[in-house]
């Protein structure tokens, strides 16, 4: 404040805005005789005392730097919130390596199909700006323990476990059968998902809605499944089954002609529909969790 006043009184308007120029001018001071008083030092053209110019120079340099650092303590209030962790998704392509999973066709095994789906889903989510971590990118054996470790270290906003089967119809969405508990400081490994079951059910509803919107039949269920029960994130197992051949009851076949030929899980268009629906659901879920909408 003192600097401000001094600068305002002792400087012409243009000088405070050009401190470097004023310094150069200060170098042109004429030498005075020895024994003369210090206050006699004056600017050769403006005729003001040199001390005033030095104070003004220092204030002119320091003022812009310290403008935002007011010495006055800010009013007491809640501390500024830390930036929330970035929303991310973990995709677990089930099985792999020696664990082949189901034999979907003569040549195709479950581990290969879910890896392909995982890569497609990761690419599409990344293209939509969602940070994605996958548990495996190649045909390797991974224990459920290791998969859960990878997912839990990410502290992800959603965990998707991908499976495929030759039985059933459409897409099966499974959440953990564990009874919901309120989250505590310590979560037992075997039942870690119990603290997230409610949010997992909401995520399941979100994905169900997106799949229904894409006209893909969905079956909802709950099960005990590794590593689903060990995940500390909203987690869901997505099992892809052939499309079509909807049966109405015990032995009663649908009369819909379009259902006559089942669509296999290997159908690229069917896979694309599922991946698109999952991407839309996860984007919506991100909006629900973070409150942010992607452009």
């Amino acid at each position: 404040m003192q600097c401000n006043k001094t600068a305002g009184r002792g400087f012409p308007a243009g000088l405070a805005e050009r401190p470097v120029a004023s310094a150069r001018r200060g170098m042109d001071l004429k030498r005075v005789k020895p024994g003369s008083r210090r206050r006699d030092l004056r600017h050769p053209r403006l005729g003001r005392p040199l001390k005033v110019y030095w104070v003004g120079l220092v204030c002119a340099v320091l003022l812009p730097v310290g403008w935002g650092q007011s010495p006055v303590r800010p009013p007491q209030g809640p501390p500024p919130l830390a930036a929330p962790p970035q929303f991310s998704v973990v995709i677990d392509a089930a099985h792999g390596g020696a664990d082949t999973g189901a034999h979907l066709t003569e040549q195709l095994e479950e581990k290969d199909l879910v890896l392909e789906l995982s890569v497609e889903l990761r690419s599409m989510l990344s293209a939509h700006g969602v940070q994605v971590t996958t548990t495996r990118e190649m045909d390797v054996t991974l224990s459920p323990l290791r998969r859960a470790e990878v997912a839990n270290h990410r502290a992800a906003g959603a965990c998707i476990v991908l499976h495929a089967t030759a039985s059933g119809h459409g897409v099966h969405l499974f959440t953990s059968s564990l009874a919901p508990v309120s989250p505590g400081k310590i979560l037992p490994w075997d039942t870690a998902q119990a603290a997230y079951v409610q949010s997992s059910l909401r995520l399941s509803a979100e994905i169900n809605s997106a799949l229904q919107h894409a006209e893909i039949p969905v079956t909802l269920g709950r099960t005990f499944l590794a590593p689903l029960d060990n995940l500390t994130c909203p987690a869901i197992a997505v099992e892809v089954a052939p499309l079509g051949r909807a049966l109405l009851g015990r032995g009663a076949m649908s009369t819909d002609k379009s259902d006559a030929q089942p669509t296999p899980v290997t159908d690229p268009e069917y896979q694309k529909q599922i991946v698109s629906a999952l991407t839309a659901a996860i984007e919506e879920w991100e909006h629900d969790v973070t409150g942010e909408t992607k452009p």
């Binding site: 034999h103 119809h169 005990f224 499944l225 015990r250």
Partner: protein, 214 residues
Amino acid sequence: MIPRYQKVFFWVLLLATMAMAAYLLRLHTKSEERVLATVERVPLSAPDTATQTPVMLLVANDYDGSLTPVAERIELPDQMNTRARFLLNELLAEYAKPEALHPIAQNAGVDDVFLMPMTVERDGMAGTMAVVNLSGSLAQVHPSGIEPETMTLLSMIGTLHANLPEITEVRFLVDGEPRETLAGHADLQRSYLASSTPIPGVDAGADVPGGATP
């Protein structure tokens, strides 16, 4: 006129025949007693006059993920663990039919059911734990997938609970050994609460299969 020696010969022969008949009869009785003493008197098949018991089987449907109650009348033995095994094999026989909506290519697969009283009370009652020993061949031919495996387990648990309400908890073994999964997916290392498996038409709010808790 019959000579006297012929009369004597006739009567001697008649007496010898009767003595031999008596001796044969005696031998037959002795041998029958000997055979009956060694053979276990257990009926190998149920008699036709046995009473048929009404039972409810919860049959799985892979296409909508539901459990459908099917009422049947079958002949059941008296022992509880044998009844449980009969019920489960009857359920698996449904899945072996050509028109089954949850096909399993084997019409039997439950080797034993062991019943153990629970020491810990649940919901105010000490129930019974059923340990179902599945055959390795059933696990071998079972369709692999979360849904088919879960539906098999839930239909077994639901059928046991619907017909034997004292069974409150169920565990599964394969060939007498603990196993991680049935066919690569559904966890067999947990205990399933039979009472929380919904029975359509019996339990309220039973539209979503699952719900078993450890």
